[in-house]
């Protein structure tokens, strides 16, 4: 089922959580709402679910008006950050709950409920824990039960509110890959909220970046990551270095670098900000006409396959962060205190007016 959100606004007291937000979620897609806390992403999710009602605007399910529909009638599966499992029920009863509260005439028989719950237990790989209580499960197991419970009623839409937020790093990684595979199997239209950009990039078909109650950008993970539309998106996705300078007729002058910036061809000596991702900073031993500037290695940190380097530029009054593959660092024989040349491979320049 497709979801359309038309010009939705919502305020809580004087705080405007959503400002005129419009969004289309095509049927069968897995969409991530990504943003910092207070950006309105959870409010939007709750409005889709019917747990909150918008102050203005409309929600359409498959083109049909659903703004005034009750939560119970919307056929949405909702997964909460803190699982919200019924702690007095076993895993089995939790998953069966949605089926057992159906009105008598549409309620499946006992045997059918049992079969369906067992199929879901198989799906979440917890077949032997059917009789446990939620208190006896680990966080990852609880979240999987919550997911199975939401799926049991065969929802048209699956909504997940920071589903992995309360889990530790390893379980989170495992579970989000599992969610991706699950979605590839069942293709239910899904929207999940997260503030973790890595999670959004890895799991989602499409990413909607939100900030201050508005949508900043939406697109596929690579679109959003490679071509951020606004400084905010640049800043929020991945670690980034900021340069201040000026841009004039398509050429930017930033802290000693000269970069062409065709999208700002009409700018006339305007103040501008340049963004360079850490892994887009190239480090060289010599400066063979590449336009790099002198830098001193201040600090080196190996994080898995990558090496993170803090570089002090020129006279040392400012520093940037570069990330390079480990073998690259080994080839360069980088040591703290080395003098090297740094050069941005790619820089995105925004004229200062757009600054947030």
């Amino acid at each position: 089922m497709s979801i359309e959100i038309e010009a939705v606004s919502k305020s809580f007291g004087t705080f405007a959580a959503l400002k005129d937000v419009s969004l289309k979620v095509p049927s069968g897609e897995l969409v991530a709402l990504l943003g910092p806390s207070g950006s309105g992403k959870t409010s939007l999710l709750r409005i889709i679910a019917g747990l909150e009602s918008p102050d203005s605007g409309r929600i359409l399910f498959d083109g049909e008006e659903a703004t005034r529909r009750q939560v119970q009638e919307r056929q949405v599966g909702f997964v909460f950050q803190h699982y919200a499992l019924f702690r007095h029920m076993t895993v089995f009863d939790n998953i069966a709950f949605g089926l057992t509260v159906k009105p008598r005439k549409s309620r499946p028989g006992k045997q059918e409920i049992r079969d369906r719950v067992h199929n879901l237990l198989k799906l979440i790989q917890l077949e032997n824990l059917a009789d446990r209580y939620p208190a006896q499960l680990s966080g990852g197991q609880r979240q999987r039960v919550a997911l199975a419970r939401a799926l049991a009623v065969e929802p048209q839409v699956l909504l997940l509110d920071e589903p992995f937020g309360a889990l530790d790093a390893k379980v989170r990684l495992e579970l989000r890959r599992w969610l991706r595979r699950l979605h590839d199997e069942i293709h239910v239209t899904s929207v999940f909220v997260t503030h973790d950009q890595e999670e959004a990039l890895e799991v989602a078909d499409r990413i909607v970046v939100m900030n201050g109650g508005r949508i900043e950008q939406q697109g596929t993970p690579s679109e959003v990551y490679d071509r951020p539309a606004t400084p905010f998106v640049y800043d929020f996705l991945g670690s980034v270095n900021l340069f201040h300078g000026r841009v004039h007729e398509g050429t930017a002058q930033m802290a000693g670098f000269r970069v062409s910036s065709p999208e700002n061809a009409s700018a006339h000596d305007a103040p501008a900000v340049g963004y360079v991702r850490s892994h887009d900073i190239a480090i060289e031993r010599d400066n063979a006409g590449s336009g790099g500037i002198k830098a001193e290695v201040r600090y080196l940190l190996s994080v898995g396959a990558m090496v993170r380097a803090d570089l002090a530029l020129n006279d040392g009054d400012r520093s940037i962060e570069a990330e390079l593959p480990r073998e690259e660092a080994e080839r360069l024989k980088l040591k703290v205190g080395d003098h090297v040349y740094a050069r941005p491979r790619k820089m995105r320049v925004f004229v200062e007016d757009y600054q947030i």
């Binding site: 679910a49 747990l51 939560v71 119970q72 949405v76 599966g77 909702f78 909460f80 803190h82 919200a84 499992l85 019924f86 702690r87 007095h88 029920m89 709950f97 949605g98 509260v101 159906k102 209580y133 939620p134 208190a135 006896q136 919550a146 419970r149 939401a150 049991a152 009623v153």
Partner: protein, 276 residues
């Protein structure tokens, strides 16, 4: 139990703590109560049976335990309601209502008894409207239950309130997303979660009602066989210097109360089997 005193506990001193607990409980509870049994033991078995099964005594058991049970049930129901309103809604004067709940705790029981008796008597504020309709409260067993409800109210409210406060709104939201209507959410999700607390409140309210004396004697009318509670009968025996007879009845009360509380505790344990 040895595991509890393991070396890796933050607070040391399992042995002295347990020792002190037992010592304290002995002084405060066990020794006075065993005195009761020793005094009772001065009676022969036949005398004991005769003392505790006299028709007037049996009638008083029925009045006391029956009214207490009824009062505790009423309190369980309305206590949950009061707790619900206090937790879930905001209204002017909420703090005042919250404080009002504890009043039966603080009020001297005799004051409560006299107040209730005068309100429900023939010419009282409420009695004047109830009596013409054939509802006699003061000086009847119904009056006893009313007094017991009054003194037992805070127990259920105060045990259920924190549980309700802790209950996550998300639980209800999850239930309604799954298609449950309000009634189903309440019966199948909220009520089972509150049940252990309700049972605790029920047990406390019941126990308090069984032991209540001061507020009841003013409103009960104290007619033998009809509205005479067991604690009053014990006092009567004491006034007649029949100490052994008084302790015999007290012993029966004690044992019955203990068994009932034990049952409620087991029930409570069952109702929170999920919280392992």
């Amino acid at each position: 139990m040895a595991g509890v005193s393991g070396k890796n506990k933050v607070v040391p001193g399992f042995a002295p703590a347990l020792g002190y607990t037992i010592f304290y409980l002995s002084i405060v509870v066990l020794i006075p109560l065993s005195g009761l049994f020793f005094k009772t033991a001065t009676l022969s078995w036949a005398d004991f049976v005769a003392a505790v099964t006299a028709p007037r005594v049996l009638a008083s058991y029925r009045v006391t335990f029956g009214s207490s049970l009824a009062a505790a049930l009423v309190n369980a129901f309305f206590g949950v309601l009061v707790a619900w309103v206090l937790v879930r809604y905001r209204f002017p004067g909420k703090k005042l209502v919250d404080a009002l709940v504890d009043l039966p705790f603080a009020l001297p029981t005799a004051v409560a008894g006299i107040t209730l008796a005068s309100i429900y008597s023939q010419n009282g504020w409420l009695g004047r409207y109830l009596e013409p309709r054939g509802v006699k409260v003061a000086f009847t067993p119904l009056g006893i239950a009313v007094a017991m409800v009054f003194i037992g109210l805070p127990f259920v409210v105060r045990t259920v309130q924190p549980v309700l406060e802790e209950l996550d709104q998300e639980i209800e939201e999850a239930a309604s997303c799954l298609g449950a209507n309000r009634w189903q959410s309440f019966c199948r999700v909220l009520l089972p979660t509150m049940l252990p607390a309700i049972l605790t409140g029920f047990a406390l309210s019941f126990a308090r009602a069984v032991g209540e004396y001061g507020s009841i004697i003013f409103i009960a009318g104290n007619m033998p066989m009809v509205s005479e509670i067991t604690p009053l009968l014990i006092i009567t025996k004491l006034e007649q210097y029949d100490y052994a007879g008084a302790t015999a009845i007290a012993t029966v009360m004690l044992v019955v109360s203990f068994v009932m509380l034990l049952c409620i505790n087991l029930l409570q344990k069952w109702s929170r089997r999920f919280a392992e």
